[in-house]
Every structure is written in structure tokens, then in C-alpha cells.
């Protein structure tokens, strides 16, 4: 098996691409990978995004922040082409996601990785098989090479020892790390992380944060990080967008954000309960609602 020439060729190609990756990056580092222009999106009874504009340069880690329910997950779904916007454009690598056929979209998604808010591991497959899944589906690599790749990816997230456990035996933080290993199995050009920090202890939180940064730099990926956790993310990202009420209300590098004069950013960074961000989901006034209650 080891003497099979086709495998050698595949090995060489893999090595070649890994060597050439950083070089290509050097030439393209000024380009943007994801460009969103005037994007409007609403669910049947509620507008979520109202004319969002943002651009994400190649090779960077960009955070998207905003209050709960402001549409961050929705934005990632739009970038992944899972839902379509009413108007506006989402371009990834210069191609319009919204106008793609299913096959084109699948071609694009092979180069994207997404870490879901709750991991979304396949519960009927072991950790090993979960990470092997994209490799088995999208490559014809021989079993031995799949095993090597899977163990390497698991090693990166520190869970090589858990390869033969089932997802039900993992803690939340471990599940998310396995999901991360699965998402990077095909070395994507774009990684999207949906709230990778929620529900983690401070140590795991730091570990995941560092992992995201290191993976981005080592694999030459571009990363979009959706999060509430401003302190952790300011330490590791290159750029931050703040979203509120369907619009980008502030943006900047972490340093600019720390010294920002924007009332919104100040509220968000310091966690003030009152400010531009309302605590309440839109509703009629409390008096109105309560009086209606007594009338019945």
C-alpha cells in the first residue's frame, strides 16, 4: 500500500500546497475575502439586518459583536449561504454567494468551516469518525492517511486521547474542540466561529482563544468570530465590528475600540445595563400590557 504511486503523488501535492500556502498569502494579504454590501435581511415578521456593510481581509481574525439576538448567527448563515437576504450582496472570494446554484454553493462550502454554537457533532459517530467525516465525504484518501490526518487534527485541539469516545461522553468544551477539529479537517480558507467561548471555564476559554488565533496563522485561514466575550476577543482579534439594531454601529482595531468614544462601544466594553442597547425585546409599554391583563 505504501508503495502505491498514486498515494505518493497525493502526499506530494498535500505537502506542496502546505508549503505554497504562506507564499500565496503574502501576495494576497491586502485582499478582502468576505465583502458584505448593503445587506438587508428580515424574518417574516421582523427585520434583523438593515443595510449591513463590512469587509473581512484575508488572513485576519475579525470579531463581530453585538447583543443577544441582534443577528450575529443570522449573519454567519448568510455568509454560508444557508439563507438568502432580501437585498444586498455577500461576496466570498469575489463570488456572489446569493446567486449561486446548489452545486456552486457546495463547492464554496468545501472551503469554509463553521463552528456551531453548540458543536453539532454527529451523535451516532465517534469523535474519530466525526473528524473523518468531511475527509471521507470529499476526498478519496486511503484509510491510513485519513487516520493520520484525523489524529493530527485532534492533536491540534488536544483531544487525540479522546478519539474513540462518543460525543455523548464529552463535556461541552470538549465537544466544541472536536467540532473545531472537524471544521478544520479540510483546511478551509474561511473559518466561522459562532460563540466559541460561551459556557467555558476561564482556562478552556483561553485555550480556545489561542487555538483560533494559532490555527488562523498556521493554516493561513481567515476567521470570523462571533462573540459576546469582549475581553477575550480584544486580546486575539485584528479587527472588530459592533452590530446593533441591524446595523454596524462601530468598528476598529482592538486598540481603537479600547479608546473609543462611542457610547455603544463604551456600554458594551464595560457592560453597563443602560445605554444605546436596550435590555428589552421590542414590546408595547409595560403599563399597557399589564392593564390589558387586569381587564380580562
Amino acid at each position: 500500500m505504501a508503495n502505491d504511486p498514486s498515494i505518493k503523488v497525493e502526499c506530494n501535492i498535500l505537502v506542496f500546497f502546505h508549503l505554497i500556502y504562506p507564499v500565496t498569502l503574502l501576495y494576497m494579504s491586502s485582499e478582502t475575502l468576505v465583502e458584505i454590501t448593503n445587506l438587508d435581511f428580515s424574518y417574516p415578521n421582523r427585520a434583523i439586518l438593515k443595510g449591513i456593510n463590512l469587509s473581512i481581509p484575508k488572513g485576519q481574525v475579525v470579531a463581530i459583536m453585538g447583543g443577544s439576538g441582534c443577528g450575529k448567527t443570522t449573519l454567519l448563515r448568510l455568509i454560508g449561504g444557508m439563507i438568502r437576504a432580501q437585498s444586498g450582496k455577500v461576496c466570498v472570494g469575489g463570488e456572489d454567494i446569493q446567486g449561486m446554484t446548489r452545486d456552486q454553493l457546495y463547492g464554496m462550502r468545501r472551503r469554509m468551516g463553521m463552528l456551531f454554537q453548540f458543536g453539532a457533532l454527529f451523535t451516532d459517530l465517534s469523535v474519530f469518525e466525526n473528524v473523518a467525516f468531511p475527509l471521507r465525504e470529499h476526498t478519496d484518501l486511503p484509510e491510513s492517511m485519513i487516520a493520520d490526518l484525523v489524529l493530527l487534527k485532534l492533536h491540534v485541539v488536544g483531544l487525540r486521547g479522546a478519539a474513540y469516545m462518543m460525543p455523548s461522553e464529552l463535556s461541552g468544551g470538549m465537544s466544541r474542540r472536536v467540532a473545531l477539529a472537524r471544521a478544520i479537517a479540510l483546511d478551509p480558507m474561511l473559518m466561522m466561529y459562532d460563540e466559541p467561548f460561551t459556557g467555558l471555564d476561564p482556562i478552556s476559554l483561553g485555550v480556545i482563544g489561542k487555538l483560533i488565533r494559532d490555527l488562523n496563522d498556521a493554516l493561513g485561514t481567515t476567521s470570523i468570530l462571533v462573540t459576546h466575550d469582549i475581553h477575550e476577543s480584544l486580546n486575539m482579534v485584528d479587527y472588530v465590528y459592533f452590530i446593533s439594531e441591524g446595523q454596524v454601529v462601530a468598528q476598529g482595531t482592538p486598540d481603537e475600540v479600547r479608546h473609543s468614544a462611542s457610547a455603544f462601544v463604551e456600554q458594551f466594553v464595560n457592560g453597563y445595563p443602560d445605554g444605546p442597547v436596550p435590555f428589552h425585546y421590542p414590546a408595547p409599554s409595560l403599563q399597557e400590557d399589564l392593564r390589558m391583563g387586569t381587564r380580562k
Partner: protein, 265 residues
Amino acid sequence: MMVDQFVAQIRRLGHGVIDAVMRLGFAARFFMALILASGTGLRRFSLVVREIYFAGFMSLIIISVSGLFVGMVLGLQGYNTLQRFGSESALGVLVALSLLRELGPVVAALLFASRAGTAMTAEIGLMKSTEQLVAMDMMAVNPLARVIAPKFWAGVLSMPLLAAIFSAVGIFGGYLIGVRFIGVDAGTFWSQMQAQVSVRTDILYGVYKSFVFGVVVTAIALFEGFDAPATAEGVSRATTRTVVISSLAILVLDFVLTAFMLGGN
């Protein structure tokens, strides 16, 4: 006030009807997409085999035990009725025809719906509510082709086999009671059966029926799971609906199919 309530009632009725029609349309589209996405599953037949193990093989015990008892009851009841006319010798025919034409396909399908159908609905519903299906789609793997179509073909292939096993075990149960226990002559029992049961109009018609039931039950189970709201309550309701709707569908379709088959003779 009266008028208001009346209007509200009418509106609710209209809403229900529109919802039902929409769901039906959605189900039809789901079914078409499922058939179109079947290429992958049939090319990688191991996926289907795995599902046959879960849907078909794991149903074997309940199917055989039920078949045995249904056959034994047929033996008892059949003998009791036939002896009034002095035609105990027809016991074998009666048992075999009841099972092959009606009870085999119908009861096996009802059992299949509650054993394998519910499992399919719950599994798909849970995969959906834990975002596994979206995650798969995001990995550029079509869940319809990778998860749902293999289950569908497994159900369609398993159902006629299960019905056949049900009938075979049932006939054995009838033999146990009729011949071994009551003492009908074994030669008469088998030879009458052999002479009277036709391959084309009895056995094959039963196979057609169970094939149709297999398609319908599996499609309903998969659609209910796929369409379930992504909550615990939604999945549990969908599971119940799988049993209710597929049982009704089996019984109604059985009547329709029987009418066609008998009419065609």
C-alpha cells in the same frame, strides 16, 4: 359578539385547511427531492445496508413474535369456524390466504411504523434540533442524500421482507395450532394450501401491498422528522404523528389496493 366568534371560528378553519394543504405540498416537494437525492445512497450501498440493519433487522423479533401469535389465533378461530361447515381441511388455505393477502402486509406495516418509523422520526428530528443536519449541509454534504435517502430505501426494501417473514411465521403458527394441537391432518393442511394459493394473485399482491406500505410509512416517518419543530416537544409530537398518520394511511390504502386487486380479477 356572536358574529365575531363565528368569524373567528371560520378563520381558524381556513387557517387549518391552508396549513394542511401547505404541509402536503411541502411533503410532496420533500419526497421529490428525496428521490432525486437517492443516487448517492444507492452508489454507496453500505449506507443503505446500515439502515436496513436498524430498520429491518432490529424489527425482526417483534415481527416474528407477532406473526407467530397472529397465526396461532388464525388457527384457533379458523378451525372453530370451519368445523361448523365440516370443512376443517380448508384450514391451511384460510390461514395462508388471510396472512398473505391481508394480515401479513398490514400488521407488519403497522408494527414497522411503530417500531422503525418512530425511531426514524425521532432520530431525524433530534439531528435537526441539534443542528446536525445544518452542520452537514454546511460541510457541503447534502443531508437528504447522506442521511435521509438511505433510510428511505432501507425502509422500502425491508418492508416486503418483513411482511414475508410475518406471513411465513404466521403460517407456521397456524400449523402448530391446527395440526399439532387440534389434530387436523398435516397432509391436507399443506396440500390444500399448495393447491389453492396462487403466486400471482395471492403472494404477489401481498408483496405489492407491502411495497406500497413501505414507501408510505418510511416517507411519512422521514418527513415528520424532517419537518419537526426544533424542540423536544416538537420531536415528540412528530413521533406521535408518525404512528397516527401512517397507521391511518396503511388501513385506508389497504382498502383501496384490495379494491383494485379484487376488481382486477
